[in-house]
Symmetry: C2
Subunit: 406 residues, 2 copies
Amino acid sequence: MAVFVYKFGGTSVGTVERIKVVAEKIKKARDQGDHIVVVVSAMSGETNRLTGLAEEIQFHPNSREMDVLLSTGEQVTMALLSMALHELGCSACSYTGGQVKILTDNTHTKARIREIDDLKIKQDLEKGRVVVVAGFQGVDEYGNITTLGRGGSDTTAVALAAALKADECHIYTDVDGVYTTDPRVEPKARKLDKITFEEMLEMASLGSKVLQIRAVEFAGKYNVALRVLSSFKEGKGTLITYEESEMERALISGIAFNRDEAKLTIAGVPDLPGVASKILCPVADENIEIDMIIQNIADDATTDFTFTVHRNDYQKTKNILETVCSELNAKHVTGDDSIVKISIVGVGMRSHAGIASTMFKVLADEGINIRMISTSEIKISVVVDEKYLELAVRALHKAFGLDKEE
Amino acid sequence: MAVFVYKFGGTSVGTVERIKVVAEKIKKARDQGDHIVVVVSAMSGETNRLTGLAEEIQFHPNSREMDVLLSTGEQVTMALLSMALHELGCSACSYTGGQVKILTDNTHTKARIREIDDLKIKQDLEKGRVVVVAGFQGVDEYGNITTLGRGGSDTTAVALAAALKADECHIYTDVDGVYTTDPRVEPKARKLDKITFEEMLEMASLGSKVLQIRAVEFAGKYNVALRVLSSFKEGKGTLITYEESEMERALISGIAFNRDEAKLTIAGVPDLPGVASKILCPVADENIEIDMIIQNIADDATTDFTFTVHRNDYQKTKNILETVCSELNAKHVTGDDSIVKISIVGVGMRSHAGIASTMFKVLADEGINIRMISTSEIKISVVVDEKYLELAVRALHKAFGLDKEE
């Protein structure tokens, strides 16, 4: 018998009616003879309600108690889903993270899973029960309740699938799979049947936020076959798996983009060792995350240093740089907060030359000026003016053959 | 240093503002150097909300999952109260029943406490922390979440006080103590400074529902000094304790009454062994609780058999009796669902004769006809017509000197 781990997010279990629909879906799978372990999130809205209560009491709620509070959200869902399964005549049993137990470190509100005890779950599965587990939560070695941070239920599901050596881990969500790009920007975007873990990681971190990035990393590390599919529509979704050598893969799997970035340049910086850290450390000290970094080749004794940050941090970063600029005796600071980053992602690029030049030519043909370029093994990112987003995505989507059926 | 267990019910922690008030009260006690363990209920309304969700899914929700669901109510409160204490600069730590751990049997929705591990609590108290514990819940030996049934938070508090050998267990509620009778019926009703466990048990089971009866039994068994007091008003409340021999006690401590009863008589029953069980078993089989039972002395070969049930069960019981009546070849079934039971309660009655006759005379002087009488060591109950309730209670309150200050 095959073992599957199903994960349902907050929207999928947001009402009693939806919980009943989810129960039907699970029962159907169970009736086909599969062993099913279900991981659930809090009903949508519940986490915000609880956070609201906490914040009425403490401006920065105590993190240990915050975990105690938030973990009740999934506990409510798991009990209701188990009841819904019983109502359908399907034997089921629910467990909190602590009951399983899912052992984590003690970093409250963003704990990491260390170990999962699969004994109870296996015993229940053998008795023919569906096992419902609270996502997002665990316990530390002293029995304190911990939570895994936003989106942690995906991580719970993947970790359980790894521990149980499940055949597949299904992440049910409100989209029916991973697309070649955002269909709201390119209506010709196609759902992918398969994507590799590495491609998925690049897609996720670049803004196609279907899955929590930690869950994908985890799935890659422990070789868990992950499938993203819709809670509401029938369909096979997208399978996230290892690159298969025999498979004739497309060069490019998808096009990701990020509208939330801003770009800053400090020009005329003395080209000396340690200058990069002198610029970036004051920014990092303010907890501002830096994304792309580019340093142009210096042709006199100075260099231009450019990087991108989240658009919300633009003004703050600019102020920091003004100070740095005068300290380093640099020329001036410039910036632009109406840019976007567009990336093409694909493992195929490893074995094919000329992808970058194709990309640049496509953009040039459309008259789009590239402001920054950054590359990795399986992705190429460019920064362009915000107004070119749709034009660039659509042109690239077509040029790399993503409009066509696989 | 003294150890106190404080218990706050759902109304006392019903809003964020009230939780803050409770935190202030606890901090004040802590600042005086006492060790404080707090037991909390779910915020008022929360248990009903959760039960409502469950019942939308299952008509008779699975009892194991119901416990999983309901136990989240106290967990939310304990986290919020701990945060409120932190906000006041008072170190605090919260624990679920499972975390403590409070070991129970596995009778879901009405489990009984078997054992409490006090290690974590003692360690925390020694570190100067206030310990906040979820009331109403525990775990069975397999780690399944259990609940103690309605009012179970009182039981948790008393059991913790017993385990910790606490100096006193304070039950904070919306009344400021135990009264000689219901002040809504007799405005001269007085708050008692002290009452014995046995009197409290008789008062509680007779309708003066200040405390859960199991908690009082538990407190009596383990010699826990229990104090009932108001969450909202200052005051010393009522101490529930053992009878003190040196204390010159009043004859009667209080007058309890119950408006929810109905009375049924099956007349002309053959006076044979086993007849009582033939009458009562079919009633008990329908889960109808029987309160007072009276069998009149038979002066021919037949007897009249009378008992009381909850008024809601009146018609159902009458139907059962009609069947029994024809089976036993008895004369007829009569009944009355507009009666009340009034009881005088006091350990003083043990050592004083004539209490019953005083009671009957007081009622006779007011022209009140007594329909049934039942007595125990420390209480005398009578059934009278409903319309005489206020008159009877006030006359007895005065006659037994309860109007006067102690």
